[in-house]
């Protein structure tokens, strides 16, 4: 840093700054390698990554795999007026299995898992496997969006209030207190009666609540410990602007912790979504929690249609668990004391 600031101007600066960029890249590569090694030391994070990979595959393969069901599964009624190329993919929201089974009678829905429907069908005759796969895409987008938003805000707010302190700090900390005071789930339920809560809005709300809530406090205390380090003083003396110091020195140093919270954020966002869906308060065409909600509102109990509970329930658990595992794996990065001696 000092190097860059001491160069006045002109072409020289360009050359050096490029080499600086190169140095940075090398450093980054080095750090990445080190971190990866530490990360993989504990199998826990790897297991999580594998499961996430599996879910990514599931989400991507949905349209491909679902072509198998294609038009034969869709009733002629649903085909008409449909865009034909779209109809090639089984529609997990409107699709209805009317084809006769072995005994030439139409399947009675919800049908238990079979070769035709590996995860069974729901009370409206729709294939549960395709619903699970279709929802995986949405859950990914939703979870990552909300977690990114929350961590971005928390990191920024944490760094800023740690660096400036004083009134800004007091304001954000009281705000965090306020957010922490809210009983979380009742508040979301209350919000759902207030506005038509779809996935995007829910992600936004969760992101904002997370971004100004508890995570901010933790990230701020981490940033505080960085702020008192000697090199920050050095940067200040060298004339680095406030924002330069915040973005260049403080934030990069709290990023591992942010990344850790990113993973936990996905878990908690998807969990909240699933819970709201279960209570029937979320407005979405389909989601894992809604599969269970449909079963409940049509009156199919766990005893009568176990697959409508077990399969989405286990899916949610696995999905949330995988991000949590990666988070745990990152823990050793964040906290060197946890590493093996």
């Amino acid at each position: 840093m000092l190097v860059k600031n001491s160069i006045p101007s002109g072409s020289d600066a360009k050359i050096i700054s490029e080499s600086l960029w190169r140095i940075r890249l090398n450093l980054l590569q080095q750090a990445w390698k080190n971190n990866w090694q530490i990360f993989t030391e504990k199998k826990i994070g790897l297991v999580g990554l594998w499961i996430i990979g599996f879910f990514i595959l599931l989400a991507i393969s949905h349209p491909i795999l679902m072509a198998y069901w294609s038009s034969q599964e869709l009733p002629p009624e649903a085909m008409m007026g449909h865009n034909k190329s779209l109809a090639d993919v089984y529609d997990p929201i409107r699709g209805l299995d009317l084809r006769p089974g072995k005994d030439m009678m139409p399947l009675s829905h919800p049908a238990a898992p079979s070769w035709r429907h590996p995860f069974g069908t729901d009370p409206m005759g729709r294939d549960v496997l395709s619903q699970i796969m279709y929802s995986a895409r949405i859950e990914f987008l939703f979870g990552v969006f909300s977690a990114l938003l929350s961590v971005f805000l928390a990191t920024l707010v944490g760094a800023v209030s740690a660096y400036f302190g004083g009134k800004i700090d007091a304001f954000f900390m009281r705000l965090a207190d306020l957010v922490l005071t809210l009983p979380f789930l009742p508040f979301l339920i209350f919000l759902s009666s207030l506005l038509t809560l779809d996935l995007f809005k829910l992600g936004l709300v969760l992101g904002l609540l997370g971004g100004f809530g508890g995570r901010t406090i933790v990230l701020k205390s981490q940033a505080l410990s960085i702020k008192v380090r000697p090199y920050i003083e050095a940067a200040k003396i060298a004339g680095g602007s406030h924002w330069h110091i915040i973005f260049r020195h403080i934030i990069p140093n709290i990023l591992p912790l942010s990344f850790f919270y990113l993973m936990l954020g996905v878990t908690s966002a998807v969990m909240s979504e699933a819970t709201l869906s279960f209570l029937g308060l979320l407005q979405a065409p389909i989601s894992w929690g809604l599969i269970m909600n449909f079963a409940r509102s049509f009156g199919y109990s766990f005893y009568e249609a176990w697959w409508l509970y077990l399969i989405p329930g286990v899916t949610i658990t696995l999905f949330c668990g995988s991000f949590y595992l990666v988070g745990r794996g990152l823990d050793t990065l964040v906290n060197p004391k946890l590493r093996k001696r």
């Binding site: 649903a78 008409m80 007026g81 409107r94 409206m124 009666s193 407005q283 409940r296 009156g299």
Partner: protein, 606 residues
Amino acid sequence: MRKFFIVILAVILVFGMTSLAGAEKIFKVGIGEDPTTLNMWSALGPGESSMYNYVVLNDLYDSIYGICYPSYNFVPRLAQGDPGEFVQEGEYYTSIVPLRKGIFWSDGNEFTADDVVFTYQTMIDFDLLGNWSDKHPDVLVKVEKVDDYQVKYYLKDEPGLAEWNFGILQATIMPKANWEGVVEEAVKQDNPTQYLYSHDVKDLVTINGLDFGKWEKGAFFQTVAVKDFRTGDVTRIYENGRHEIEGLDLNWSAYGEAGSELKYEIAEGPFVDSAIYRLYSNQEAMIMALKKGDIDYLLSAQGLTKGFRRELEGTAGIEVVTNPSNGFRYMCFNRARYPFNIMEFNQAVATLIDRDYVMNQVLQGAGVPLATAVPPGNSYWYNPEVKIWGEGLTRAQRVDEAVKLLAGAGFTWEVKPAVDLENDTYNPGSGIVLPNGEKMQTFEILTPPAGYDPMRATWGLWIQLWLQDIGFPVIARPTQFNVILEKVNQSKDYDAYILGWGLGGSYPDHLDAFFASDGGHNRNDFKDPVFDTIIKSFMKATEIETARELAFEAQERLAITLPYIVLFSTPIYDAYRKDVIEFPAKEVLDGIQGFYGVPRSVQIIN
């Protein structure tokens, strides 16, 4: 350490091993929510929206006339016979009603005309709302005592059946001795009504054999039998519809000649020692409790769903009874907006909707397709002859029919739907142009969200698809329930919506409330002078036969003008332990739950 804990556990267990209730006959019912009050004024007033207040309190009180279980016919309860003919007396029309002798309140006082006069006077003085409101319409001036067993009603005008038999006369009577002091105290307050409603009742004074026992909020509610207070009423209903009621100081018959075969004989006890209403906020757990035998019968606001029926039908010792519900779900266009006020437009939409397909194929028979605002379960008033648009047609035929209707009203297309009737196929149309030459703008059908009601959300999806087929730019938008209500009732900012009604009684005066130009619940600005004439004479009808003819005529008119496109109704399932209890009649409009499990007539057989 460990030994100590074992000893403690053993001690605790010993305390746990105490014998429970003995050989009492207890009717055990599962309910979904706590009642909110013990105060009947309040329960029928602001507490009216909680069904469970009725469930636990309804059978502790009685009215002068009521509706008969299971036929929903108008019958005397505390009255000694039919109400007297109306006589003009000066500016008023009066009718004298005889009361039964020898019926006692649970505090030992006899039921007399004083109680009746007191109840009506309180209703009028306090202008009680909720369920009380249609018991004292403006037309009722006062009620006077003639002697201990006769009361005289003073009305401004001769009322129709809706106002008289199915309104004023069905008021719940409250004990004067018990409440007089409270009412006097209330009058002195700043807010008398609130004082009356919030009066904390400790000892309920009830009538007709059932009394309040115990209430553990959040756990259970118990009513107990008062054996000495039985009226011994026996109701006999015959195949031809004849009703006979025999009991203490009452021998009454109506609705047909004698000589037909006996259909039901319903005795009133109570035959149980007590009834326990146990709270289960988790319906699935309620079902498990029924299967396990913790409860004998269950009552839940949303009713049993198809899945639970499937589960319970296979269980030994449990009987599931299916009955038609007294209500319907419908789609409705905003008749204040163009082009939704064009009758042919509504007819075309009705033609395109295949109720049978959605209900029986898509929703797997979770409901019953329905096309009129009087459900067939209400058999006396249901008109089976009304026009059902597109009935029995294939999809292509429906499209053909709808195109003809729209074209007849002046709609045109950029690409007209091409129907090939021979092969029963068609190609979708697009770009509908309205009769006034403008291109049709995108409109929305508001439906409750899938999480709230998957059935109506599914209907929305299919209706959207069918309307798009013919070229309408339409979107079914799942919307929060209270948002729909706000748009429909307050801001009137909507194109179309799908909602439902649950109807209280069997008398179809809701047709007036929903569809008359001045109807209290005319939500979509539907105006039809022809219909208005029919429905107003229906409301004024004093003979049941005339009323029926007019109701039929009204339904026929509605089937043509289509203010509501009625879609379906849900069946009502009642499940009970047939090895423990028995109900005297099981074919009931709206199910046995419509009568809250008839605690006065249910029998414990085991």
